[in-house]
Every structure is written in structure tokens, then in C-alpha cells.
Amino acid sequence: MVLLVAAAYSLMLGRYHVPLSSWWGILTAPHDSGVGGIVLLEVRLPRILTGILIGAGLSASGAAYQGLFKNPMVSPDILGASAGAGFGAAAAILLGFNMFGVQLASFACGLFAVMLTCAISARMKRGGDPVLILILAGIVVGSIFTALISLIKSVADPDNKLPAITFWLMGSLSSASLKGIRFLLPLFVVGVVPLFLLRWRLNVLSFGDEEASALGMDTRRLRWAIILCATLLTASAVSVAGLIGWVGLVIPHLARMFVGPDYRVLLPASLLMGATYLLLVDDLARSVFATEISLGILTSLVGAPFFLYLLLRSNKGWA
């Protein structure tokens, strides 16, 4: 409900005023509606839909990872997906790919980074907590790709390539298009639907690998399935919008405060709140100043203090 209102508000918001009364005409006869129709349908609508998908996707994968790693401090980039996707995009920009090529390269590298993390952790068989090993491998892979991003920046042409890479890495929805949505939507569905169906199992997984096994779950397979879904969501989000921090960490927290830790409600709540949050922050990004502010900067600027506020307010642990 809130999401719908936010979406409608976002449609209205912008430099070019499209009166509410003309919406009906635009929606029923999109081809002969003039500038207003183009602004509404081809600029704002794709951007809003992209924002919804990315906000929801990042929040869902953050929530899933937090359960999987039984740690509320985990964010979607824990296994190196963001760093990998960032590297892919930077490399593609350096090589002069077009927008879609950049997104594709970014998505592929994001997946590759997480696969690398999983392969490393699978190699380390000698006892130990498999979850802990995954996190360690993720840190290693993440920092390698972060270093590679810096490497690319240092060799990039400082006049046009470097600003493009830097701007992309800061995150923005400005490149949203209907084509982008056609790319994003299937990945979002493939990622979210299994998570949604498995959401009760996430409750059990958050009690740890051993206990979940003893309760009768094939934790190894389940873990891979969840990692795959969450990675699809993260990598696709990053590949379209760049690095958008804090959403995947803060939103599951906020949702947990409202509806409790039960994933049967928590996951849908995270999806909705993530979508709404990103939409509103993007509204800020494109309306506060005449030029657009990078979304990644705003999500951190809004998200980090808000997170601090949550921590100070709830002194009852991670309620």
C-alpha cells in the first residue's frame, strides 16, 4: 500500500510537471500523449520499476544472507558479489562496451566472484564451520576484486573513462530503461521465488548448520540454493544500478523490528520495505539538487545514521 503511494508520488515528482488529471489519458492512449507521456512512461516509469526491483532484491538477499550466516551484520556483498560486479562493470567501461554490455559483464563477474568464493570454501574441507569458511573466502575474493577495480581505475583514461567508472561505482538509477527491466525482471523472479518458497527453512538455518541438520534438513544443498538465489539478486541489482550500499543491511533490520524474525513474514516485509525505501531515496537523489546525486551516496548517507539510530533504540539485542 505504502509502496503504491510511493510509486505514484515518484511518478509525479520531477522537473517536468505532468498533472495528475492527464495520467489517465496517457495510460489509455500512450502514443499520442506528447512530452508528458514520454516523461511518464519512458523516463520515470522504468526508473521507478527498476528502483522497486533493486530495492526489493537487495533487501531480500540481505535478509536471506543474514539468516544463512546467522548474523544480523551481514550484507548482500558478503561473498564478493558486489566487488565482482563492480570489477566487471569497470572493465567493460574501460573496454568501451555500451550500456547493456556493461550490465552483462558486471552481472557475469558478480556471479563469477561468488562462484570463486564457493569453490574456495569447498576446497577447504578440513572440519570447521562451513559457514565461517564461506565468509572468510568471501572476504578474500571481495578484496581481490576491489584491488582489481583500483587497478582498472589507475590505468583508465582520466578524462572520460575514469569519471564514467567512478560515477558507475557510486550507483545510480539514471540508466534505467525498459530494456534494462527486461533484463532485470526475469533474474529477479528467478532469485526471489525460491527464496520466498524456502523462507520458513531460513528460520531453521539461522540456528546453525549442525542443529538444522539434526532437525532433518539437507543444509548443504539448501545453503547452495540460497546462495545462488541471493547472488542472482545482488549481482543483477549491482549490474544495473552500481554499488548501492546499506539497503541490504538496514532494511532487513528495520523489517525485523516491525514484524519480528520469522522469515515467513520477514521476507515479504523486507521486499516491500526495500522497494519503498529505494524509491524514496531515489526521489531524493533526483529532486534535492538540480543535478542528480548518486544513489549510492544517498543510501549510505541516509542508511548509515539510520542504522545507528536503530542500534541505539533497540538495546534488546537484534530484535
Binding site: K70, V204, F207, E211, S213, M217, G260
Partner: protein, 258 residues
């Protein structure tokens, strides 16, 4: 009937349990005693199928449990870990419901019948009043009872409990032990580790004593738990005292001059 036949297991190359055998009939309580690091937990993991058995067999009702899928293991053996604090504040009801994992299809959530089973489990331990409380905010004794309720809701035939009475105050220890006896009287088979020989005297129908991965002794507590045997296990002087009414208790023989 649970049969542990000449079982050997360990982690990787390191063998922890060396050829342990015992059988346990339904409705009995076996207390597993042993010093820290003697292999109690490792043996439990093998029985729960969390650790592969490298030698020997573990059979339940004449069926070898090796190769059972997790769901089947969980419908036979329920694990009661030591009371711990999970990272998220689930309600007691949700914690107990998790027991239904092994009875549900992968993509489904617990339904009305599952909720009823969970309520019954809470009711049988007289903790229905806790069902809406947050698990993380309970006392240690309450949490232990909730974990037992969860194991009951799993509807397994064997309950495997890792030191169910440790970390509890004296009254809660006795209450938990009484619950354990009640469960056995109801036909469940119970396998319990404990650090206190007195718990074995109070509730066990059998004891098994582990030392460095070997089975040192196995049988009825009154016969097995002698001063000699326990001094071998714990390497401290101690006394077993007959307190009348057929009850025995174990006390440390403290050196009064210290």
C-alpha cells in the same frame, strides 16, 4: 531398539571413538559419562548422522542407519543441544515449530496440524505459558525445556541430549531430570551425556563410561559407577555414599588440610 555395534569414528584422519558397542531398548535412559574430550559429543554426532561412521554399524530397530537421508534420521533421532542463544529473537512457538522440518515438504511452511503438535509438546512439559515469549529472553532452564519440547514435536523415537542439566540451577536440574524420566516412561528412548555421576544415579537405567574414546564400562548405574571406575575417569579421589532407600550419591573426597 538402538544398537551401536563396534563403532569407530572421528574427524578426518583423527580417530576419536574406538570400537564402542552398546544396545538400548525403547523406554530406557542411557547416561553417557566421561571426562572432557573423552568423545561423548563425537559419539553423539555419529549417532545423529552428522559424522560418518568409519567402522562398525549403528542400527535402529534392526535397520542400519548409514545412508539414511537427513529427513529419515531426524524422524528417528531428535537432538537436544545445550541451551544457547540464537542471533534472532524468535518466539518460543516458532522455535518449537522448527521441529517440523523433517515432516514437511521442502517448499511448505508448517500448517495447523504442525502448530497443534507444537502446542502439545509445550503442554506436555507444562510450559504453554511461554509460547508467545521471545526465546532469547528466557532463562537457561526455560530454554532447555523449550529445546526438549522442540525435540518432542519432532516426533522421533530417540532423544539425544547433550548435557541437558548443565548450566541449570539445582532446582531446574532436578525438574529437567524428572521430565526426562517421564519421557522414558512414555516409551521414548533417551541418550544423555552428563558431567554429574549423580544425574546418572537419579535417572539412568544404563550408564556407559567413555575414556579416551574407549568404552570403559557399560551396564546398570549401581553396578558400574564404583569409586574405582569414577576415579579412573575423573582422576580425582571421590566417595560413593549410600544415602538409604536404594539411592547412592557421589561426592568428592576433599583434602581438608588445604
Amino acid at each position: 531398539m538402538l544398537e551401536v555395534q563396534n563403532v569407530t569414528c572421528g574427524y578426518g584422519e583423527r580417530e576419536i571413538i574406538h570400537g564402542v558397542s552398546f544396545t538400548l531398548e525403547a523406554g530406557n535412559i542411557l547416561c553417557l559419562l566421561g571426562a572432557n574430550g573423552s568423545g561423548k559429543t563425537t559419539l553423539f554426532k555419529a549417532i545423529l548422522g552428522l559424522l560418518p561412521v568409519t567402522g562398525g554399524r549403528i542400527c535402529f530397530d534392526k535397520h542400519d542407519t548409514a545412508g539414511w537421508v537427513r529427513r529419515k534420521v531426524a524422524r528417528t533421532f531428535a537432538y537436544v543441544p545445550q541451551a544457547h542463544t540464537p542471533p534472532f529473537a524468535f518466539t518460543v512457538r516458532d522455535v518449537v515449530l522448527m521441529a517440523r522440518s523433517s515432516h514437511l515438504e521442502l517448499f511448505s511452511s508448517p500448517g495447523r496440524r504442525d502448530r497443534e503438535i507444537a502446542e502439545e509438546a509445550l503442554d506436555s512439559l507444562n510450559i504453554t505459558h511461554l509460547s508467545g515469549a521471545r526465546y532469547t529472553e528466557l532463562s537457561g532452564g526455560e530454554r532447555q525445556l523449550v529445546l526438549i519440547a522442540r525435540a518432542l514435536a519432532q516426533q522421533a523415537q530417540v532423544l539425544v541430549m547433550d548435557e541437558p542439566a548443565s548450566n541449570l540451577d539445582f532446582g531446574n536440574q532436578i525438574r529437567v531430570l524428572n521430565q526426562i524420566k517421564k519421557l522414558a516412561a512414555g516409551g521414548l528412548t533417551l541418550l544423555i551425556t552428563t558431567h554429574s555421576p549423580n544425574h546418572a544415579f537419579e535417572c539412568a537405567s544404563q550408564v556407559a563410561v567413555l575414556k579416551a574414546g574407549h568404552l570403559l564400562a557399560h551396564g546398570c548405574p549401581r553396578d558400574i559407577l564404583t569409586e574405582n571406575c569414577l576415579e579412573q575417569v575423573y582422576a580425582v579421589p571421590l566417595r560413593i555414599v549410600d544415602v538409604g532407600g536404594g539411592n547412592k550419591t557421589c561426592i568428592a573426597a576433599m583434602n581438608r588440610e588445604w
